[in-house]
Symmetry: D2
Subunit: 347 residues, 4 copies
């Protein structure tokens, strides 16, 4: 019963197979191989719009590099105050952008609303030379609280951003979970809703280690190409990263894996919510369940060996816990957890 | 009636004389002149402790450079949310520190209290590799709200900082006003109270353009020497900057000038507070008065040509205004303003 | 007949197996898994000295991060003028070090000699505040010209470096080839010879994508831990990177793979050198052959489909070519090339 | 007899007067005063072209800031290998540009010729993602060897730069000496010859401390405005910096001061060249004389109290010395030196 995160998961069999399949003969290095060379085209098809794709090895660097081409070094990047870019990337966005600033915005259940952004922009000193300058908005989809922005919500935020002169970035470490949850086209919550660049997550969704920076504003690609290399992200054996991405977006594997994780989360969420003393701390819309439980239940679960983090993690002794479901999880793992929680709740 | 700031002021005659006096013959450049070479010694006497002094041309760069030797590039600098370093230096601290982060803390009347700092440190992820690391506390003295930290208050904050592994910086753009207000020794609110480095302000207190970074932890000097040069602050004709500092700290000129400004502020504050509908937004402890006035009074003052900013400035249409007094202000300027405000208030 | 590089190679079967073996169950993320947790210990055994190990995904970032903890932001890093850090990392060392400077040194066959370094240090302005400050020496082992520094040569350079106050870094993208070539212990050309930090290459030697920053001065680890995370190199599924390193250093796999590549290079080198009009541009001591050939031979080889680069690559139409051999190369590939070259040479 | 530099000089009386004149009443801060507000217009008239002007306090920061808006963070800046930006600014250009690289070019008497630049560009890897990207050329005028580029020479270099996609910067710490020497219009060696931005020197030519970044490509001004503030160069009492610039360019004061220094240099140069054993190391075209003298003469001059540096300075015991003349130098100082040198030479 391991609900710590989705990055404790295995690599999906199809992804391992893709890596193995790519492992024959010589191949052009640094993205000169055939799989890498077709990524732009394949993602263009996936998004229904001409895009440029840059594979990277981690989510932190995906976000930091994407943002680095959307802000000057004296820029301000707005994000939810609970966002990964704001809290858990050790200042990577600030560093890669040459000294830019993250400003955290409040918002229920991990979601920013337009008026909060607008209020922040009003006080930002836009154009006033004494102030760091509003440059970008970074939205997390699905959010750190397991919720999902609808296409309309993304569009409304993008519009507020646009009025304030901000570029729009989406941290999609769990983008697949959001698309699977919404049942929409990937385009609907990205470029059609005003998003300029996306960190398309792979690692939490069955890959070994790969994320793709997807540029909908392709004119950013020239600058990014150099920053990508300089960040050490132009892998010499790129074929093995490209193969991961390729296998994920082939035959909707990425959505199948995400759907599986989402279903398990829903099942867990519905089960837990019914127990006495339990309440959901946020709606369960993707693959994360945030639930407040009686202390005795939490302690009992831990004593029985269940693994999970309090939230906000990890330095708080919180009555609210985060349970993350994964593509590779057996029904039994969720069911066993529910049975145990029920027993502890009913004591 | 110009209360916009203390940087609209003239240079004090004694400072101009010092510059003129220094202007003869040749002198070693880049701090090799006799006036510059004696600064360390003179400030050591002023503070009663061995210090190292680096003159710079502006307050922004004084703060940013001082902080740059007190934080790693992935560090967090805590400051009051209304602090100049946080709001009005266009990201200079972040830039000079190579990507560090400013975190604004709340606090009444521009002052941080220890428990606010401690609460922030509790949530900071100290030692957790995913988080930018707590590195420094920057206190503004006197504050952006014209208030002054007592020696005991500085000491208490420094102790909290020290427990959390933070170095302590003081932004003393108006340090003279604070010392003059408290009637204490400069040491009492700096190194004796746990401060590691001070931006000793000159420009707002009668200089042409000079601030001194004063290092109480002299082991920081080697690193700072290079960063100071690299920032373009090792002036070739340094004698003219050193002469300004020298004249200010000779025969307590800096305190005389500050006392004059403080007295005018007190007079203004007491006068305004007595008028109907007026209330002080913060105690007047240095050379700035923050007062909330009826809109009709504010409009009337402006119509009569009085100059001042709403606060928080400058992009708000605030019923609270900031009035800054200066060393070179005539009594009549304050008195005229008071008479006018009274007349408008009594209508 | 593909001699373009060793990064066009496949992943060694044992490495793929190690990845597959690691792919079961859940595992602590961000290095909290069992394989990652034992890396320090295993590399400590390999080097006969307590070390700290940080896996990363590419050679560029290994070098840049290692150097970033060995130089201040105003530091100077000395390297051979033909070094990868100097020419082919798009300014990564400068960026990660916050603005440091690379200075290229001359030296026959890709190797620096102490007197060249000492001459550069003599002119460096050490301690003079106007000059960027000498901070580190980066040696490439094996070098960009396929040569190898002996233990005595490394030690002599380290001594010169130490006298000049420089830390010593080794870019070991082809470290295995050097150790295999010398038949020495890994310690002999690293910490015993004065090296402070090593980029231990995996990718060019049979890994999918992994290098290890090995710190012999373990006190650098605290700073590096944060910079490593901030660079996006603390992979969430770190087990799959650790597994690659683990498999390479188990049962001397890394040396077997390197020996194979080295043998092929020697065979190629000896063969080519015997042909009329051919001359080696550098001794063949690792897995790269640099040979000057008649234009007609080069053209003939290309026409027959052989792949390789002119050197210095890739923007020169050079009569000297670089031939890189790999762990996964068949004898036939080398023999076929030699036969063809011989035929063309004898025409 | 003090020939150490032109930054050991006094402030010209007219400049002091301008400062004093500006020192009355209140004035808008941060460039909001009347003198600052008219600088763009006055420099526009001086250069015969619409320009934007940013006053700064030192030459190092003028160069670094100007270059920071002409190069991406992964850019390469070409300069003469003896250039101040390359050697004596402690890495300021690298820092302000976020990690860019300086590449030093050879050239007789401190001057680069087009074919040297072109050869460097040929090997630069332009457009190749693995290489730091050619971005700017920085020319020093007059040069570190006291020579002057003619308008045709600047134009030829700019054309080579332009073909290679480089922006062109001029380090004009001694721009006045060059213009005075050439007798041309300031435009002739700047925008008309392809220069995009100029560091217009004041400090070495009679100011207290001021240089102006003059942008001929005014579209760079928006970016520079923020970087200028963030560098701590938007002085709060800007009127005193603007007044210095204003007085220098009024009634050709800057050229008069430079002509005086140039004349003295010519006199010194002609005198010294005639002595036995003496030879000029570079033509004397501005206010610096580089002369190789017998050791006995150099020692004798020093023994008599004459002050000067060997060149390249300061860490070499060079038989070539640099003698810098100044606007505030008496004829007697030069004549006395010549008499002494002659006496020593004839022994």
């Amino acid at each position: 019963m391991d609900f710590r995160s989705d990055n404790i998961a295995t690599v999906a069999p199809a992804v391992i197979e893709a890596i193995t399949r790519a492992n024959h003969g010589t191949a052009g290095s640094y993205g000169g191989d055939e799989i890498s060379l077709r990524l732009d085209e394949k993602f263009t098809r996936l998004f229904g719009k001409s895009v440029r794709v840059f594979p990277v090895a981690s989510g932190s660097v995906a976000n930091a590099l994407a943002l680095s081409v959307m802000t000057p070094s004296y820029g301000v990047i707005y994000a939810h105050q609970g966002a990964h870019v704001n809290n858990e990337e050790c200042g990577a966005p600030e560093f890669f952008a040459g000294g830019a600033r993250l400003v955290g915005l409040e918002g229920e259940h991990g979601k920013i609303v337009p008026k909060t952004l607008e209020a922040a922009l009003m006080l930002s000193g836009k154009g006033f030379v004494h102030c760091a300058q509003p440059a970008a908005l970074s939205l997390t989809q699905s959010t750190e609280w397991g919720t999902v922005y609808t296409p309309a919500e993304v569009a409304a935020l993008s519009e507020s951003a646009r009025k304030g002169g901000l570029a729009v970035h989406m941290d999609g470490a769990r983008f697949a979970n959001a698309v699977a949850s919404l049942g929409c086209a990937p385009a609907d919550i990205t470029w059609r809703a005003g998003v300029d660049a996306l960190s398309f997550g792979g690692t939490k969704n069955g890959a070994l280690a790969v994320e793709a920076i997807v540029l909908f504003r392709t004119e950013l690609a020239e600058d990014l190409a150099f920053k990508h290399k300089r960040a050490g992200q132009l892998m010499s054996k790129m074929r093995f990263f490209a193969a991961q991405l390729d296998s994920l977006i082939t035959d909707d594997l990425w959505l199948q894996l995400a759907r599986r994780a989402n279903q398990l989360a829903r099942r867990l969420s519905e089960g837990l919510a019914a127990f006495p003393g339990a309440s959901l701390a946020a709606p369960t819309e993707a693959n994360e369940v945030f639930v407040t439980l009686p202390r005795v239940v939490i302690d009992g679960l831990k004593a029985a060996g269940a693994l999970f983090y309090g939230w906000p993690e990890p330095w708080a002794d919180s009555p609210t816990i985060r349970l993350v479901t994964r593509h590779d999880m057996a029904d039994a793992e969720v069911d066993g957890f529910l049975r145990l929680a029920e027993k502890l709740s009913r004591r």
